[in-house]
């Protein structure tokens, strides 16, 4: 049920996004991530608006890795960090990373490391196209600090992607 994208810019490296609902073992998944046993970025689905948002965060992470400029432990944690407009790593993780009580999550895997995480998840794979059912737009506006005036100049996704792309340079 994963959707695959090819990062042509980075030697054809591919990234796969998959969405899971009714996840029963988020706490266990989070523990495995903390222990370094998960080769994937795992996001709370409520703060995911569209694939483009996750891809913008992923491109930054892969680029940072290739240039030896990761700010977090590895490229997967970097994806979670990049989802946030904040430069605080702790803050980014506590908002965008998987939480113990999450029932819907988005899994981002680079290259061919997909299979292994999926066996760990006790939940239902659903098509990524159904993401909006799990998105909490009010929380997105709050977390990214997006006011109504800004939404007269473009979509919520425009506002979010712009923040992700320029997070090192702009404070909100």
């Amino acid at each position: 049920m994963q959707e695959k994208f090819v990062l042509e810019q980075f030697d054809g490296e591919s990234v796969a996004l998959s969405l899971f609902s009714d996840v029963k073992n988020s706490r266990e998944i989070r523990q495995s991530i903390v222990e370094g046993n998960v080769e994937a970025g795992v996001l709370t689905a409520a703060l995911v608006l569209a694939p483009l948002q996750v891809l913008a965060a992923t491109v930054k992470a892969v680029h940072a890795q290739k240039n030896g400029r990761l700010r977090t432990r590895n490229v997967n944690s970097e994806i979670v960090y990049n989802m946030s407009a904040s430069r605080s790593i702790m803050d980014s993780f506590s908002k965008f990373g998987i939480q113990d009580d999450d029932e819907a999550i988005v899994v981002v895997t680079l290259g061919d490391s997909c299979a292994q995480i999926e066996t760990l998840i006790n939940g239902t794979a659903v098509p990524l196209s159904g993401i909006s059912e799990f998105t909490d737009t009010d929380r997105i506006k709050k977390v990214y600090k997006i006011k109504d005036a800004e939404l007269s100049a473009g979509s919520l996704l425009d506002a979010v992607v712009s923040r992700i792309a320029s997070k090192e340079f702009v404070s909100y």
């Binding site: 042509e8 712009s162 923040r163």
Partner: protein, 230 residues
């Protein structure tokens, strides 16, 4: 499903300026322009790197601020700090306001009636920038894109390479003066149109307006004197 993302191999040079090159590419599957600031070989490399970074940062901040106050700007997709490149939305189905005005003025059609509301929109946008203390720095009708259909007067501001935040009436006056000079040389005999920009501006930027307008007059005179002396 699999789609190809990232910048495509083929890129088209759109513009080569003194500070930067602008290419059209596809990025994350979307039409994108890349603005790359290239190194200046006459500057000390360390100074050049920090100046370039500061300018890129100022540009990104101005774009972000515009969006926050409701002024349409391109979406930022990616920033490559090592290459001093900003990847942003390539606005489709648009003309520059410059081309639109020229096309309308060259014809004798019905489109003339679109110009006054369009100028009102331009003035309102600049007034919004200034009331938020944002100076564009390079206001020209080429740096304003008009989306189709033109009747909607949907304008997107571009090129914030010279933008900065400043509250002073002097800087706002100069910003208006730069626009006036550019406007009247690009669109000769269009003083009346320009007056519509100014009156809409006055509606949108009431705070400290008197000082801004008197600085605008002052800079105008200063400019005229300079050109007479040579």
């Amino acid at each position: 499903m699999s789609s190809t993302l990232g910048a495509s191999e083929s890129s088209i040079l759109l513009k080569q300026g003194a500070e930067s090159k602008i290419h059209a590419v596809t990025f994350l599957g979307l039409p994108t322009v890349v603005k790359e600031r290239f190194p200046k070989t006459y500057r000390h490399p360390a100074l050049d790197a920090s100046l370039t970074r500061e300018r890129m940062k100022a540009e990104l901040r101005a774009i972000a601020k515009c969006r926050q106050i409701g002024v349409r700007v391109p979406v930022i997709y990616f920033v490559d700090e090592q290459k001093s490149s900003i990847y942003m939305e390539h606005i489709q189905n648009s003309n520059t306001v410059r081309d639109f005005i020229q096309k309308v003025q060259a014809g004798s059609g019905d489109a003339q009636r679109l110009l006054v509301p369009l100028m009102a929109k331009v003035g309102a946008i600049i007034g919004t920038l200034h009331s938020n203390n944002l100076i564009h720095g390079d206001l020209t009708t080429s740096n304003m894109l008009l989306l189709e259909p033109a009747a909607d007067a949907n304008i997107i501001l571009i090129d914030f390479g010279l933008s900065y935040v400043e509250a002073s009436a002097e800087d706002k006056g100069v910003d208006l003066y730069v626009l006036e000079r550019a406007f009247l040389s690009t669109h000769p005999n269009s003083e009346e149109l320009f007056a519509h920009i100014i009156s809409a501006y006055q509606e949108a930027n009431k705070k400290g307006l008197r000082e801004v307008m008197s600085k605008f007059e002052e800079v105008r005179l200063r400019g005229r004197k300079r050109s007479m002396v040579g």
